[in-house]
């Protein structure tokens, strides 16, 4: 029977991270980009929890770290959505290609 080892978690997290990074770089919708950033942060969380379980099982460093990451990510999304609403009122669009007041 296949047992789940640390490698599986690390590979999963690497995949999620790559998917998130790819999304951030290719998606043109601001909300989608925000979601992709969340995917990257969740990859980080999987890493942290897996390392915490397999490498430092006695102290909970990684798990505590991941709680902080989750909290900060929530704050970030809160601010992100607020800005997206503000920009939608200005431009009636959430497409990053329309944000061309400034040269990228």
């Amino acid at each position: 029977m296949l047992t789940i080892s640390l490698t599986h978690y690390v590979v999963l997290s690497a995949l999620l991270f790559s998917i998130g990074l790819f999304g951030v770089l290719t998606k043109r919708n601001a909300v989608a980009v925000l979601i992709c950033i969340e995917i990257m942060l969740n990859a980080v969380n999987i890493n942290l929890v897996a390392f915490s379980k397999y490498i430092t099982p006695i102290d909970f460093t990684g798990q505590i770290f991941s709680l902080f990451v989750i909290t900060v990510a929530a704050a970030e999304v809160g601010i992100g959505l607020a800005i997206i609403i503000a920009i939608y009122r200005n431009k009636l669009s959430v497409n990053l290609d329309d944000f061309d007041w400034l040269k990228w």
């Binding site: 460093t61 990684g62 505590i64």
Partner: protein, 484 residues
Amino acid sequence: MPADMFALTLPFDPSALTLEMLMAGLAMLVLILGIIVPKGARHGLGWVSLLGILGIMAVAVSLWGEKRELLNGMYLLDNYALFWKITFMTAAALVILGCMRFVDNMGNQAEYYSLTLFATLGMMVMASAGDFITFYLGLELMTLSFVILVCFRKTDAKSVEAGIKYLLLAGMSSAVLLYGLTLIYGLTGSITILEIGRIIAMQPLSPALVLAVVLVIAGLGFKVSAVPFHMWSPDVYEGAPTPVTAYLAVGSKAASFAIILRLFVSGLPGIWENWAMVMAILAAVTIIVGNLVAIPQTNIKRMLAYSSIAQAGYILVGLVTATEAGIKGVMFYCFLYVFATMAAFVVATYYYNVSGSDELRDYAGLAQRSPLLAAVMLVALLSMAGIPPLAGFAGKFYLFSSIVGDFLWLVFVGLIMSMVSVYYYLRVALVMYRDDPVDATPISVSSPVAVTLVFATIATLVIGICPGPLSEVVNGAAHTFFLH
């Protein structure tokens, strides 16, 4: 859970956090005052923040020489951290004093000042961070406060657009940085920087560690806007309200350098030969691209943005050797960079209040309209270019002298590009001094702004003419860096 686990915890000494608690208290006080006081009196909030910062700075000076570790090295209080904290607070004080009228025109003073103070708090936490959690929290407190500040004029499309760009790119870079940090945690089983330093020195180099270091360099390179991670900064600098740009250019950059030094010099010295060359190349590319792209800029904020990218390149030079001399160079340069940049941006802010324009051509004849503004701008720009006897020269001298032995080519890159930078800095001077103004009415400079500008200029001159005293202070601070 065994009961003696709690007995094992070290005694927690909250007095090591005095500065941070005071700063958090001040920020919340300003926010609450903003609700209580009537609209007409909110102008005073700037003075409350300013006096508060000066008071906390006095406390910081009185703590000089303390050396404490909190929670097994999670939080470090030493001269190194204190020096950075004083640097951040100097920058915050200058930006608040210099840009009060701009903020009054913008409205919502309470939120503005309290966010500025929270950003400062984030930087102070970063300077003291001894492990990844503290570091990440400080970084995000600073970044998120800055995101809100960048899009503070929420009806101005440019400002909001700069805000969303900054948020998305900062979020991405934080995620990349964090992923690198988790890999380091996985490889060493620790998140305390000093302990990681000890463990990595004993381990053979693994490919995973290389990947982790690359990710960390990419994430932090974004924060200091090193090329090729600089794409956000000209846009954000141009779109953000000018006082925010000033503080972003100085504070966020200096705080990132504080943590980069801590992370690389005390966390990763075991693999120094592997990242030194990367840093050297990053510094060289940043210096070259920053200076060359600054030449064709027509907007003064955009030009200053590219010039600040180039400055980040110069500062990176001090990191290459990971020696005490290099650390000293970084700290010295960041400190004087505060004065030059603040002076330049306060002039830009003040002139924007008068003319409503940030375009370089509208600076024509500034010397006739207001000799003070033009002179301060000139001194600030020449200091950034590194012309003796101004402070920038002494700073560049310390930075480059730390690498003369091993990286002579980098010294040449720096010197040549410094000469190139004189061209675009002097172009501003030419517009200000040679051209005739379209509208020749003299500009009267209000006294807080005049005080800020004169203070920054005098500091630039004094540090440049006799760098000795500051240099000794910085030496002492850089020395404590290695004592943990």
